[in-house]
Amino acid sequence: MEVDSDWRPTASLDVLKLRASLLARVRAFFARLDVLEVDTPVLSRAASTDPALSSFKTYYHGPGAVKEEPRYLHTSPEFPMKRLLAAGSGSIYQICKVFRDGESGARHNPEFTLLEWYRTGFDHLDLMDEVERLLKDVLADVMPIDSVQHWSYRELFVEIAGIDPFTATVTELGMLLQSTYGVTAVGLANADIDAWLDLLMTHVIEPRLGNGLMFVRDYPASQAALARLRPGSPPVASRFEVYLNGVELANGFHELADALEQRQRFDIELEQRRDRGDEVVRTDENLLSALRAGLPNCAGVALGLDRLLMLASGSKCLQDVIVFPFDSA
């Protein structure tokens, strides 16, 4: 006897309609602002060097194939979009599928839909305001936003967890997590301070954020990723994160434009990958060449559209808003 597999979509038709209308509203929003929609490659010779990201890898066979040269599925369209910016595209946006190996759970699907956009002449503060305008616009009919909060990374940790993330030691963070919040971690003995801060952020702070829209900015320099650093004591990264109803939704930067500093950051990340035994991927030389040619002053942000749809539809997990989640793809 044949047994039918579970072929049906996990997302309801209502959710699919909401997805379509959100996408239409996002495109209308950018059309009004004259921001150009672009489409960049999914498969690339180079990959993100970020040690927190893992790229899917595949191979091309056929005319022009280079033997044993992998192609990576992008984890975000950031690098080719910056090449467009350096070539004079002006402000651009893209809606595309991105792929992250090793990420699967109620809030993660290994492939997901990202909205990423770059605004020339903006810094991260200007872009935060635009993220707020976009979310208020696209959610107006389904989930009006009535509370907007702005925090620095430091204020957030001091206010909610009672500890200064810029001066706390690993020991202090471990003690606080265990004795005050009952969070016991396994395997973090040799981890750096950022892993401990991530633990506090995800286990203690995020669950206490409450409803509404929240911007967190000025991250520790060690968590700058591709953001500019602002000198100071301590220096902070011109990076922001967006939370909606306590769910991490977007991450943005006042984009690093210095090719030399970008190469140094890539090299440090590759070293971390080597130390951990992770794949040492190819650095994107095309991006570095574009930065040398000159990236206009700009800010960029990437926003998870599946998570936005999850929140807008009142769903509990991403699998309820993705037609065929990874397990049934």
Partner: protein, 189 residues
């Protein structure tokens, strides 16, 4: 010894934690977009029954617990141990009072129980969901009372005390749900 990576974590997986065998109840993947990934796990300690939470750095490995559930027939209690037997191989197992724990009040000779073995030794005993036990002591039955209201305590052959309807008499055999400890009905002959 076998081990599991956090990527293999799922409900029901048996792992060793702090020297005790445990079962994963719930596994949640947590990761900031630009940061460290974690597995936030709810775990039941199979020795104590206590449920605890632990967070593993994703990619870590833990030792597997050599734990398995087998269906064994309850034979007898010698005052110290409760003896069980595999009806196919006749192999016997002796469970301590700690392992038998609350199951003791439902154990009737010849009944099949689920025995959890850790390294080949009984760790826990789960009685059948339903058992047939005879009433050894209760107030005299009230004929014709089928209201179902009220009820009275009845002591069963294993020593368990359950609430039963007023019409039940000493010597009757009752069907009991061991998961709730509630009377289900009279045993059908």
């Amino acid at each position: 010894m076998a081990s599991y990576s956090t990527n293999e974590f799922k409900g029901g997986l048996k792992i060793m934690l702090d020297g005790d065998p445990c079962a994963i109840i719930e596994n949640e993947f947590v990761k900031p977009g630009k940061g460290q990934a974690f597995n936030r796990v709810k775990i039941r300690n199979l020795k104590t029954g206590r449920v605890i939470e632990r967070t593993f750095k994703s990619g870590e490995s833990v030792d597997a617990a050599d734990v398995m559930d087998v269906d064994l027939q309850y034979l007898y209690n010698d005052g110290e141990f409760w003896h069980f037997m595999d009806p196919n191989t006749y192999e016997q197992q002796a469970a301590s009072a700690d392992a038998v724990a609350d199951a003791v009040k439902w154990l009737k000779e010849q009944d099949m129980c689920e025995v959890t073995l850790w390294n080949g030794t009984p760790l826990a005993v789960t009685p059948p969901n339903f058992v047939m036990l005879t009433v050894t002591d209760t107030d005299p039955g009230v004929r014709g009372d089928t209201s179902g209201g009220g009820g009275k305590p009845a002591t069963l052959e294993t020593g368990a005390v359950v609430r039963v309807p007023l019409f039940i008499d000493v010597g009757e055999t009752l069907k009991i749900d061991t998961r709730t400890g509630e009377y289900v009905g009279r045993a059908k002959e």
